[in-house]
């Protein structure tokens, strides 16, 4: 009998925990509330199945537990019941898969007119690059990384010269404008993860990955790395600030272009090499 009560308690307790859990997703700050909705649908369907199965087991244990003189029924198969159960299951699975694939289609289809922003991961730091006045990011190459060019921007590509470079600083984004995050890593795997945006994607050395989203509210959000990238993995943090348009423009003016950065580094190197020639 204890077994029956505990099984019922597990089913009911799980539902109660779900309803009253203080641990729930962070308030969303992007357009991906579709994802949240799909999760809710999935919770309903799977929660129903879980409770139904566990309560059914509890009832069976209660009703058909061994008592002297009992004998089990002999029923090897019941085709009708098996087909019916398989059909209902298929419908339930389709009810979860269909909205899932629908939203996935949106997730992988970047709308036209989306601004591109590059995120570069390295152990254990986030850097960013925004297109300059020409609206285009220049090409990049890991082999080009060296003094003064931490992100490996191609110095021979005119598109890249006016790119804004933010090494290890904050990224600002304007609210309400779709943005495509181009993701790149110069050393190992990383994953650009802001819980409030719901989207995340791995960054892989040697290739460029992406995801897109539209920030829907202003605020400051913490960037975490979500792919184990070595000892400093939990400390690899960054900040994304979602601004209104005016604040965003102000911030944009303060950023250094690739050309400025190279010039500044050149100056430093000249000073450094004139003071010590041992380099």
């Amino acid at each position: 009998m204890a077994v029956v009560l505990i099984l019922v308690f597990v089913a009911v307790g799980s539902v109660v925990f779900h309803l009253f859990s203080p641990w729930w997703w962070t308030p969303i700050a992007s357009n991906w509330n579709y994802i949240d909705n799909t999760i809710i649908i999935t919770f309903w369907i799977t929660g129903f199945v879980f409770v139904a199965v566990v309560l059914f087991v509890a009832y069976c244990v209660f009703r058909f537990r061994h008592r002297p003189g009992n004998r089990a029924a002999y029923e090897p198969e019941n085709k009708k019941l098996e087909v019916w159960l398989a059909s209902v299951t298929s419908i339930g699975v389709a009810a979860m898969l269909a909205p899932g694939l629908f939203v996935w289609h949106q997730f992988v289809t970047v709308p036209p007119g989306t601004t591109e922003v590059e995120v570069v991961g390295q152990q254990w730091l986030w850097s960013f690059r925004l297109p300059g006045a020409d609206g285009k990011l220049g090409t990049s190459n890991t082999r080009a990384i060296g003094d003064g060019n931490a992100l490996g921007v191609n110095p021979d590509d005119a598109n890249g010269l006016d790119d804004l470079i933010i090494e290890g600083g904050e990224l600002h984004l304007p609210v309400g404008k779709p943005v495509k995050m181009l993701l790149r890593s110069v050393d190992v795997l990383h994953d650009f993860y802001v819980p409030e945006f719901r989207a995340k994607m791995d960054m892989i050395p040697g290739m460029e990955t992406y995801f897109w989203f539209t920030p829907t509210r202003t605020g400051t959000f913490e960037v975490l790395c979500a792919e184990l990238c070595g000892t400093g993995h939990p400390q690899m943090r960054g900040t994304v600030v979602v601004d209104n348009e005016a604040d965003y423009q102000t911030w944009l003016q303060e950023q250094q272009t690739f050309t400025q950065l190279l010039a500044a580094r050149q100056e430093q190197t000249t000073i450094a090499s004139s003071t010590s020639s041992s380099k």
């Binding site: 994802i35 799909t38 029924a73 090897p76 299951t89 050393d187 993860y193 979500a226 184990l228």
Partner: protein, 592 residues
């Protein structure tokens, strides 16, 4: 299929088969150490797996101490933490679960349940164990090597696995891990071929495929899968060794490591992920299918009722096994592979839910109108149903590509896979040990200790992993040695982490009681007799308990019926052994 009784004519050779092929041990060494008896090999596999599994259990305690009480234990720094999670994961998945289900249960049960004298290739079977032991020793050597074991995570993703930012990346750790995996796979192949060939070639007369117990179907299908899946891991391990030792670039693109340009270039880290998960996903079912099979037999035997929908159960096992080879990239939705793959892999992944759900329905329908004995094996089987359904359902979140995006790489994933391929199969292992221990030793395990072990393990494990999903939903990433100051994580999450850690220590302690019970009952356990559960399958019908070398004495059994003739109307007893010819009641041919 032909009814075996109908051709019981002179055409059949006498059932007394001389066992000339078997190597009979001449000394203590060849009987108990370099043994070619599958039953001894099974025990060797099980004891080795349990020993290294205890190491993994202790590692999980250390991890939970750090997560529950960060900063309290100075010796668990970031490097150690990542080494602990890596070794814990790899040991549990490969060296404990795979080895115990296939090397342990497979070796013990296959010859006995199909009515063979031994495995078909006993010598290769012996080598299989010794290579496995060597693999375990090489793996464990990582703890003593300079730089310690690898801390790359059990997925061993390059390039970080072989770079200096990861513990063991430039030291011995990753090398020992890869060598150990290679040895394991070679050893497994020797054993695996044995299991497959024995099932296909070594069955007793009358034991048609569709009369085999589901335990054998599960182990057989899992072994076929493992033989097809492990080579992918083998190849990946060899290539990574080359990248690390010879400077090749299979998985190494152009990389600037800590400010320094590396020589290698042009390789693909994501190629490794595809190879790894081409093995890694079938691996989930390599663990799950034997558990599915075994739990079917536990439920049927202890509910005194035939398994419901036997043919459907067999087909479900085979279909799950086949489908599991085309779902691997659902582990890689946010890996940066072409996102269009998501449509295909989400669809195949959710389709697997259908045969899996059918198995669950058939288990619970077996209980329906049964005569349920709440013995320890049955309790563990019930707990398996609860945890497996729970873990399987959260798989529908993660398999549904877009839902996976926010949850991937969070504690939700950790909770999911522990529930579905950690807790659930291990509950089956426990149930199976309580069930078959009497056959292996001739004595019953102590019931009182078993009850404590069951309740603490089942409820404790549920309390660990059910709330953990919600930490993931909140957004807490996995593989964080400390959460530090993170704006979105409330104080209450730390309290929950502490609670989970306390439960983890408690559940771990209950396993020590279980191990004690295993030893204590060897001498003090109640005498079991040959068939204490009144079960139908062949292993309970051996002339001796524990069965002698060769299993069957002079005469091999002849099989007259399927494995599930429980409570047959008109029969005198509520079970009819498979080797009992027609008697007192109608018999059933599942395959006719």
């Amino acid at each position: 299929m032909v009814d075996i009784r109908s051709d019981a004519s002179e055409a059949i050779p006498p059932s007394e088969v001389e066992d000339v092929e078997l190597y009979h041990p001449k000394s203590w060494w060849t009987k108990y150490v370099f043994s070619q008896d599958a039953k001894i090999i099974a025990i060797q596999y099980s004891m080795t797996a349990t020993a290294i599994g205890m190491v993994a259990l202790v590692l999980s305690w250390l991890m939970r101490l750090q997560l529950g009480f960060p900063g309290t234990f100075d010796f668990i720094d970031a490097d150690h933490y990542y080494q602990f999670i890596t070794m814990h994961g790899m040991i549990m998945v490969i060296y404990l679960l795979t080895a115990l289900f296939l090397g342990g249960f497979g070796n013990y049960l296959i010859p006995l349940m199909v009515g063979a004298r031994d495995m078909v290739f006993p010598y290769a079977n012996m080598l299989s164990y010794w290579l496995y032991l060597l693999a375990v020793l090489v793996l464990a050597a990582g703890f003593f090597a300079p730089g310690g074991p690898t801390g790359a995570g059990w997925t061993l993703y390059p390039p970080q696995a072989i770079l200096s930012g990861t513990p063991g990346g430039k030291d011995w750790g990753i090398l020992l891990m890869l060598f150990s995996l290679i040895l394991f796979i070679i050893g497994f192949t020797m054993g695996g071929l044995n299991y497959v060939v024995t099932v296909l070639q070594g069955r007793a007369r009358g034991m048609t495929l569709m009369r085999m117990p589901l335990t054998i179907w599960g182990i057989f299908t899992a072994t076929v899968m493992a033989l097809l899946a492990f080579p992918a891991l083998f190849v990946a391990a060899v290539m990574m060794l080359f990248d690390r030792l010879l400077g090749t670039s299979f998985f190494m693109p152009a990389i600037v490591e800590m400010g320094e340009q590396l020589q290698q270039g042009g390789g693909s880290p994501i190629l490794f992920q595809h190879l790894f998960w081409f093995f890694g996903h079938p691996e989930v079912y390599i663990v799950a299918l034997p558990a599915f099979g075994i739990v079917s037999d536990l439920i049927s035997t202890h509910a005194r009722k035939n398994i419901f929908g036997y043919r459907m159960m067999v087909w479900a096992i085979v279909i799950i096994g086949a489908l599991s080879f085309i779902v691997w990239a659902h582990h890689m939705y946010v890996s940066g592979m072409n996102p269009k793959f998501g449509f295909f892999f989400a669809t195949t992944t959710l389709i697997i839910a259908v045969p899996t759900a059918i198995k669950v329905y058939n288990w619970v329908l077996t209980l329906w109108r049964g005569d349920i004995h709440l013995s320890l094996p049955m309790l563990f089987a019930l707990a398996f149903i609860v945890t497996f359904v729970n873990g399987g359902l959260t798989g529908l979140f993660l398999g549904n590509v877009v839902v996976d995006v926010p949850l991937s790489d969070t504690m939700f994933v950790v909770a999911h896979f522990h529930m579905v391929m950690g807790v659930a199969p291990i509950l089956v292992i426990f149930g199976a040990i309580y069930h078959w221990y009497p056959k292996v030793t001739g004595r019953m395990l102590n019931e009182a200790m078993g009850q404590i072990h069951f309740w603490v393990t089942f409820l404790g494990a549920y309390l660990i992993f059910f709330p953990m999903h919600y930490l993931g939903l909140l957004g807490i990433p996995r593989r964080y040695h400390e959460l530090g100051e993170t704006a979105f994580i409330p104080e209450s999450a730390h309290t929950l982490n502490a609670f989970i850690s306390v439960m983890a220590l408690t559940v771990g302690a209950a396993q020590i009681l279980f191990l004690f019970n295993l030893v204590w009952s060897l001498k003090k356990g109640r005498e079991a007799g040959g068939n204490p559960w009144r079960a139908t399958t062949l292993e309970w019908q051996t002339p001796q308990t524990p069965p002698a070398h060769g299993n069957w004495g002079k005469e091999l059994p002849i099989v007259y019926r399927w494995a599930y003739d429980y409570s047959v109307p008109g029969a005198a007893e509520d079970f009819i052994p498979q080797n009992q010819p027609g008697l007192g009641g109608p018999t059933r041919e599942a395959a006719s």
